[in-house]
Structures are given as C-alpha cells and as structure tokens.
C-alpha cells in the first residue's frame, strides 16, 4: 500500500506551479496543478498547454484526456503502457509544454443571448424553495439573484448584470453532463463568485445560466444542479439521430470563448424557437486566442483587481452560506 493518492510530485520550477500525478483507478491518472499557486484561469491555460503538447507529441497507450479546471484526467491502456512509464512521459510533456506567454490556442468566439431573471429559472428556484429547503439563505427572496448581488457586493441587480455582460467568458472545461460548458471570466475585474446550493436542486431547466464558485455554467438539458441561477440562454444541446459527430450534438467545444448579449424574455423565446426550427443564425467566429494578451491585461489591472477582490471578500464575509 502506498498510503497516498499522490503518485508523483513535480516541484515548482521556472514559475510553474507544483504538479501532482494522482492515481485514479486501474486505467486512469490525474495530472493536477496546485491551485494555491495561481489564479484559476492561468491554471486552466496550463491544462490546455499540456493538452496541446500531448496532441503534438502523443503518448502511445493514452486513450483519452479530459479536462477539469486545473487538471487533466488521462485514460490509458495498461496493456500498451505501464503506469510508471506513462508518468515519465506525462512529466516530460508537462515540462515541454509551452509557457503561458507563448501559448496560442484555436478558439472560436460565440455570441449568445441571455434573458436575466426569466420565468423558467425563477420557477426552478421557487420549486426548490417549496420542495427541498424553505429556509435556504440563497432562495429566501424566491429567487437567488439578490443573493448573488449581496455575496459579490454589488449595488443592485443591474450592476451585477452589467459586470456579467462586460467580459468574454472562456470555456475552461466541458462536462458534468454532455455538452455542459464551465466558463471563466477573461476580464480580471470580473471576479464573480457564489456558493453552491446545499442540498442540490432537483430540477434545473434546459438553457439555465448559473454561477458556482467562480464558474458560470449553461445547462444543456433538464437536470439536477447546484449553481445559483440568474438567467436563460439558447438550447446548446440536441440529440441527433444517426451517424453524427459529437459537435453536431452540442454547441460548445473546448477553448471556445463566449460573449453574452442581453435580450428580453420574449425576444429569447423567439430566438429559442428559431433554434428548435433550425433557422437560428449562430454567430460563431473562428479565431486564435493569444494568452499573452490575457496575461498583459492581468498585469495592467493588477491593482484595480486587488481592490475588487477585497471589496468582494468583505461583502461575502457578511453573507450566510447555504
């Protein structure tokens, strides 16, 4: 017995965070970056730098990789590559992955409409209040938007909505359910965060937009969920019959960026109808994303971002956690 989940520790070097390789069953290992070393967006870029290196220099026996916000799950065939050898190769790839200031990724820019505080997500919150937890601090006002506003120290809802709309969002990972993107803000001044539901909400409508931790998620299908809900967007998943590629099923791909545009609830209804009818003109642009630009922005806004962070910390400290 090893008595530890951690198989390898790669010490921090050249400004890179500590990297762990953790055992994850009989055919998987998890490569994970220390989340105390850097903010989460940069950690996620490291994940994508590693994936890029693995794509350019594949390891024989690696069957698939899937991303978390700061980690990569590697599935391998133990008949093809031994686990120790795999870890050697993964350490090599991690070491050879480009530094963030040289990382350029293929990244599509999507534009999506959002209707804030729509009837359907209010219904989900109210249902939770009635059926699951009447006294939950996050649903006391029959919706959880005021809770997000208080937790982040905004003046009012409009200030929160404006902040949400002001940034481009980065698809840090896809998962939980098929086609569900987890988005992180690329604007260092947009430091939204919120605690999750406790216990989990049994029902979330398709298209709902929620926040948990610092990530925004878009729910591709009706499902349970734990993120605070504040609006609704288009359907981003559809079951397709026959011989189709995964991208025919779902709108989002890894490394997509998305910008939201505010629409009214009735406008959203007609846009959603267009999607169901197949006539919606999706606005998607293929681009290259230069991570150095993001890092420069982080540098430029460092002081202002610290002020925002402190303001938010003080606000959050006064708010009850569910």
């Amino acid at each position: 017995m090893t008595g530890s989940s951690i198989l390898r520790t790669v010490a921090p070097r050249d400004g890179r965070p500590t990297t762990w390789i953790r055992q994850a069953g009989d055919d998987q290992v998890l490569v994970e970056y220390d989340d105390t070393a850097e903010e989460v967006v940069s950690l996620n870029f490291r994940v994508h730098a590693l994936l890029q290196e693995l794509a350019q220099h594949p390891v024989d026996g690696v069957l698939e990789t899937s991303t978390g916000l700061r980690s990569v799950m590697v599935t391998f065939d133990p008949e093809v590559i031994g686990r120790d050898r795999l870890m050697d190769e993964l350490s090599d790839r991690e070491g050879a992955a480009v530094d963030l200031d040289s990382l350029v990724v293929d990244s599509r820019l999507l534009e999506l409409p959002i209707a804030f505080d729509d009837e359907t997500t209010r219904e989900a919150v109210n249902r939770y209040r009635i059926t699951t937890r009447m006294d939950a601090p996050n649903v006391r006002d029959r919706d959880n938007i005021d809770y997000i506003v208080q937790y982040n120290g905004f003046q009012d809802r409009e200030a929160f909505f404006a902040r949400f709309l002001s940034t481009v969002w980065w698809t840090a990972s896809i998962g939980y359910f098929p086609g569900l993107p987890s988005l992180l803000a690329l604007d260092p001044l947009t430091q939204l965060s919120a605690p999750k539901y406790n216990p989990t909400r049994m029902w979330t409508p398709e298209g709902a937009v929620g926040i948990g931790g610092s990530a925004i998620v878009l729910y591709p299908m009706e499902s349970p969920g734990a993120y605070q809900l504040f609006g609704r967007t288009l359907p981003i998943w559809r079951p397709v019959a026959g011989d189709a590629d995964v991208t025919d099923f779902q709108v989002f791909r890894p490394c997509d960026r998305v910008r939201f545009t505010r629409v009214t609830e009735s406008e959203l209804r007609s846009l959603r109808l267009q999607v169901f009818e197949g006539s919606y003109p999706w606005r998607i642009t293929e681009e290259r994303f230069v991570v150095a630009d993001y890092l420069a922005e982080v540098e430029r806004t460092r002081d202002a971002a610290a002020t925002v962070a402190e303001h938010r910390r003080v606000a959050a400290a006064g708010v009850e956690i569910p």
Partner: protein, 329 residues
Amino acid sequence: MRTETVEVINPGLQTTVQAWPGRLGLRAFGHAASGPMDHVCFRAANSLVGNAPGAPALEVPMIDLSVALLQDAQVAVTGPDDARVLRNDVEVAMWETIDVRAGDILTTVNTNGPGFRVYLAVSGGFDVPEVLGSAATSLVAGIGGVEGRALDRGDVLRTRPQARIPRRRLPESMRPRFTTDWEVEVIEGPHARPDFLTAEDWNVLTGTTWRVDLNSDRIGTRLHPHRFAWARTDAGVWGGHPSNLLDTSYPAGGVLANGDVLTILGADSNTSGGFAVVATVPRCGLWKVGQMRPGRDRLRFREVSYEEARALNTRVDFSIDPARMTGAG
C-alpha cells in the same frame, strides 16, 4: 439481412439496450461511457450465444421483463442465483445457451434474493444504431439503444444474422458470487490521503459497513451519510465543505464524497464536478456495484493496490472467457 427478433410485452422497470465497453473517448465532451452496470454478467450472456462480449444486449433491473420471440434464435440469461427465466412458463436454465422458437415467450422472474440486474443476450446482438460510437443507452443524454430511452411495451428489436452455435454453459464454479453484503475493491485516490482525507478517515472508509441508499441508480450508488474529519477545511470560493474542490474530471468508478454522502459513480454518471473522489473501484469490483440492491444491500471497501487490481481484472476476465465455456447438456 436483419430480422425482427424480439417484441417487448412487459418492459419491466427500466430495461435498456446496453453495449460494452460503451461510449469511450468523449469524456472531454461530457459523456460517461454508459454500458452495463454489471459488465461480467453482460459479457458472459453475449459469449453464451456466440456474440462478441460487448454486443448490444438487454440490462434488466429487478422488475420482470417479458418478450416474445418473432424468429428462431439462441438466447442466454445471466444474473443473480435466485432469478429465474421462463420459456412459455416453463423454467429454463440461466448461464447457458437456450434455443428458442418464433412464438416463444421469455420472461425473467426476479426474486428477493441477492443481486439486482439480469442480462439477456440474443444471438447476433441487437441491431440498434450506434450513436457517437456506441449502441449503449445513456438515459441522461437520451441517446443510444432504442431512441435513447428505456424499453416500452410494443418495442420491436431486430438482431443481426448469426449462425447457430453448439450450446454453451458457464460452469457454476466460474460464475460471479452474489450476496447482500458485498466486498468491493478500491484503489485509493485521486483525492484521499494525505491532503484530503486523514489517515483515520481512510481507516473509516475501508473499515465501515456502508448501507446502499434506496436512491441509487445508473448515475450513482449512494451510501449512508458519514462526516469525515478531513485533512482540509474548505475550498475557498469553490465551496464551503471540505469535500469541495476546483471542478475536476471524475474517473469512471470513482467513489465521490458528495458533501457527507459517498456516491459510487455509475455507468451514466457525471463526468466532472466539484467534489473529491476519495477512491476508485477498478474493473474487477465494478460489476458488484451493478448488482447491489438499493435500500437493502451493504458493502465494505477493500483497499487494493494498482497491481493487485490489475491481477484481479485478469482473473475476472478469465472467469468468463468463452474458451472455458463448456458444452451444455
């Protein structure tokens, strides 16, 4: 040529078409593999009718299934010892090839004995479209199998053509053992000692007899609540409970600490999330999770090393190797 072979008379509770090893390679897009919850019984049933071990076949949880044969065929039913299979109301043997004729009615009868899922394979394998590389049904995504859903009365399933084989039988000594008190192998991690669970927590995890909650399904097998001590306090803005972490990709078979409720991730589980996976059930133990009856069974976790798990995997595979199936009476 493909033929209509089976018509569903009584679909049971949640009978699905499954295929093994399921929908692989799409975890990065949020797809769990799906496939049978008990891959051992599933693969054995297919091998007993001469199919590839992973060919599309039926998974039947507890409640009885009844189907009519529309063509002559060979079938095999595998699963718990106390389950029975009737051909036109006459009991026939499980774990061996059964010759059936057009017009026959096959019914699976589950009892209150150990085990939870029965598998039914038909020669040729069910001819359902592959979606994203697999015929396995994902009820979460609504894809695979028959229209991405559980079977319904009146569904007609086609099979691919296949020559008859000499009847086979899996000897009793080679069959999986069913019980209500299971011992399930686990490999520690990815998020246990030293930075998530304490040494004492790990001893509790492996030393406790866990009860399987009634609220268990193909997504997750939930165990009774327990508050671990944890080697950490919380995850900052990412969550107030020590089991919370920055969202991570989950391993297949992971034992998730969902707050204070341990959940063994099932075939249709979430692929990622913000909770610690404290242990992982290797392939040799995963079939048992598929045979646990919600609300009744109990289990203990037995820690094994990666190397032991690999050896046990080989042993499980050996037990249902078609080469070792004998001729049936």
